[in-house]
Symmetry: C2
């Protein structure tokens, strides 16, 4: 992409003076339109060092209401960020509906900066391309507009600018050896960047290369492309093309045959199970310690019928873990704030730190279970979710070096009734049972269909579903703990 | 406090076996009661190294539903945390209503660890005591229950434990020189810790010293005090003692005479003001740079009548700043999630990083303005807020080394009417005016009283209010910018 550009382009003062003003005003108007239509906007400014990223950012925000945008200057990750997968920090910076997120440098620069000096960079960059494409497509499918700029200058121009900065005491301290190294390797890096951009140049998040030698030319071109892109998005909104339910469909992941759901495992007695549990305890603590030392994270997802025993199971399993090494995240209906973002964001937020366990009590699968059955999202949305979830889980496993295992706690309809009645009659347990539980029970068949489709479409090699027979609570706990041990062992 | 304890206390196996079980069950029941009553719970476990903090934490959580608590193992602050005032990271870890936050080590350990090795530690610790007492009292006033344990062992006991750990390859790597140093200075540190505890031992957040030589004795005592404290809190709730509006009153800060609010500053023309603004630009950018280099943060608060020109003022002022050096936080009504915490938390969350500006478009003063006038909080709550806000601002200034300046944008009632009508008649501006604006206008007098009381009670030396005459928008912008320059200069 980068070779063909004519880097001598310039804009004269008169043209600039004439054209910039209406563009600036237009951008202000568009910001309000995006806000009113609750469209999240992502603007990426990336490019060579000294190509004018800060200057262009500065020029754009002159036309924006500062209360409606956030500027993210992307630099080295913090400790918190380094302990999470690569895209995590960018997911956390996605704009809420109606807001603009401006990225001065982005996941592109960071992928290059963090990978290019390793010997395995080719594979790493390929993984990153996948992560990035999924990220951008998922946000776009959810209604976001994404505009990406690459500010392009020649090696000679860069050299001149670096030398100028070096001479100026106000800027010289900003120049690191790394920046110079990247300059010396301009020719080596160019085709890598070129390929990177080509593979991330998509319909929903296209690249715009800006010939950034002349300041005025740069500003005008950035402005006019930005204004055009935002206008296009708003026009699309008006025509209803992107209205909920009318979005293009993602391919559904194939349905794999899964083991039939079964609710009864074995007739182990409580005592037998307790003995097994005790014998597993030491194994578990040792594993815990090794995962912690090697900074390998692990995600455990619990889903299951109401009264299937998720709470008790989590409590028992957690007792076998180092208390400083895990977090339990209970998931309920999304709140006001959650709803301002892509639905996956609130789960990604609770990704475990390197070396830790994250236990989700219910999870992102709510999308294809309760939200599907109760109609809380559109059909397009929950159908799209299978693919989105598979991508998210694969990305997690690949980029964190950790693992995921998902438990479906299965009980029979009769067993559920028995437990509901027990709860209703026990003053110590009556808080556990609500009207909603009874209502959900009436939709058993609808939920069964949703569960079966979920198991068939989202049980993958990297994030398998384990149907856990839970009519016998003790058996269920033993199975969960054994499964966790087996899966974490493989990561060591 | 620490000298008088008999550190030879023990519990025999039979007593332990008999007494622990009912306490464990009781704690589980209490957790649910706290959840149902939406009481946030803070449990602090602190003490000497090797005194059994991890062990005690582990024992407590055995009785808790892991979905309802979060364990915070407090260690060195992260980069993000170091760039904020001391209490920030603890504010961010306060539990939401109905949840338990367990702190294994806390602000106490951190205050000692982060301050004790500086020569100015006495003053620093005194400041921290103030911060901590305010923090705990504010949370308690908001309904939280706080239980603090100090695990106490003798120097000899500690030495034996340290040596034991050193011999064990599984634990030896955890022992740092710092831990040994702290041990060698046991006698020097004891009176310092003693005084620290004495000055933070309050009715609402009392210290409980645990003689932690014997493991079983330790567990039983921690459990029984914890159960008793939580039961007391729940009983108080039942008796309605802590019901909203019945809480004890904080002293109101004195009303200081303030400059009369005035809406007209001068007859400067737009052109004159623009010239002044341009001349201030360079000064501002230079200051920006110096604050950034020296890591001094600064908070700017905007409050004012509807249509007083906050938005335009912020936009113009922000244009003079380094785009990477500021954040604008627009404040609207608290959402579901915000309401689960102390009302100040969502503002504290957006404190600027060291070296940055934070601009709040409306702020925590909503409590004593809109929430007071519209009855969104109780009279006790908004009256308490004056003192809470003053404490928060003073603490901010003292612990960050930064500054705060607050602008009240004043316009006359006639000017507001004129602007409302202009907005209503301009298709480009009609979005700016809502029914609510007209309704607020009808309550002008009530708001005036609230504004006057706010200015009188919360204009302090460390965080002054600046009434900004805003009938002339240009004059208002010049005044704001000049004021910011004057106040930030003083920090250099």
């Amino acid at each position: 992409m980068l070779e063909k550009y004519d880097l001598t382009k310039k804009t004269d003062d008169r043209t600039y003076a004439k054209e910039i003003k209406p563009l600036q005003e237009r951008l202000g108007v568009l910001q309000r339109a995006l806000r009113d239509k609750k469209i999240p906007t992502i603007i990426v400014l990336d490019g060579w060092n000294t190509s004018g990223i800060t200057m262009s950012t500065y020029e754009i925000i002159q036309s924006l209401d500062p209360r409606g945008f956030t500027l993210h200057a992307i630099e080295r990750p913090t400790e918190e960020e380094r302990a999470r997968p690569f895209m995590w920090r960018f997911w956390m910076r996605t704009p809420s509906k109606g807001r603009i997120a401006l990225f001065a440098r982005s996941w592109y620069s960071r992928a290059l900066a963090e990978e290019l000096h390793y010997s395995g960079w080719k594979k790493a960059l390929k993984d990153k391309i996948n992560s990035i494409n999924n990220f951008e497509r998922q946000l776009s499918d959810d209604g976001a507009v994404i505009v990406k700029f690459f500010l392009h200058i020649s090696k000679e121009e860069q050299k001149a600018r670096l030398l100028e900065r070096e001479r100026n005491p106000l800027t010289s301290w900003l120049l690191t050896q790394r920046i110079w190294d990247f300059h010396y390797h301009y020719e080596t890096n160019l085709p890598i960047i070129d390929e990177f951009m080509e593979k991330t140049d998509t319909d929903h998040a296209p690249w715009h290369v800006i010939e950034a030698t002349d300041r005025k030319y740069t500003i005008l071109k950035v402005y006019s492309i930005l204004v055009k892109s935002l206008e296009k998005r708003i026009a699309a909104e008006k025509e209803g093309e992107l209205k909920k339910g009318k979005q293009k469909n993602l391919p559904l992941p194939p349905k794999k045959p899964v083991t039939r759901r079964s609710s009864s495992g074995s007739a182990y007695t409580k005592e037998e199970c307790q003995n097994v549990l005790t014998s597993l305890q030491i194994e578990m603590l040792e594993l815990n310690y090794l995962l912690f030392k090697r900074k390998i994270p692990f995600i455990i997802v619990y889903e299951g019928w109401d009264a299937a025993g998720k709470g008790g199971n989590i409590t028992r399993v957690a007792r076998f873990m180092n208390p400083l090494g895990y977090n339990v995240t209970p998931i309920s209906a999304p709140n006001e704030n959650d709803r301002q973002y892509h639905y996956l964001r609130r789960f990604i937020k609770h990704y475990p730190k390197a070396g830790h366990f994250a236990i989700y009590d219910r999870s992102w699968y709510g999308r294809v279970l309760v939200e599907r059955v109760e109609g809380f999202c559109t059909e397009n949305e929950w159908q799209r979710a299978y693919q989105e979830i598979n991508e998210m889980e694969q990305d997690y496993v690949e980029s964190s070096g950790g693992g995921i295992v998902k438990f479906w706690l299965e009980i029979s309809k009769e067993e559920q009734l028995k437990r509901f009645q027990q709860r209703a009659n026990d003053p110590l347990k009556v808080w556990k049972i609500t009207e909603e539980d009874w209502r959900n029970r009436e939709k058993w068949k609808l939920y069964e269909d949703a569960v079966d489709e979920m198991l068939a479409r989202t049980s993958t090699q990297y994030a398998p579903w384990v149907v856990t027979e839970s009519d016998n609570k003790w058996y269920s706990r033993v199975k969960v703990l054994k499964t966790i041990i087996r899966h974490t062992e493989q990561l060591l």
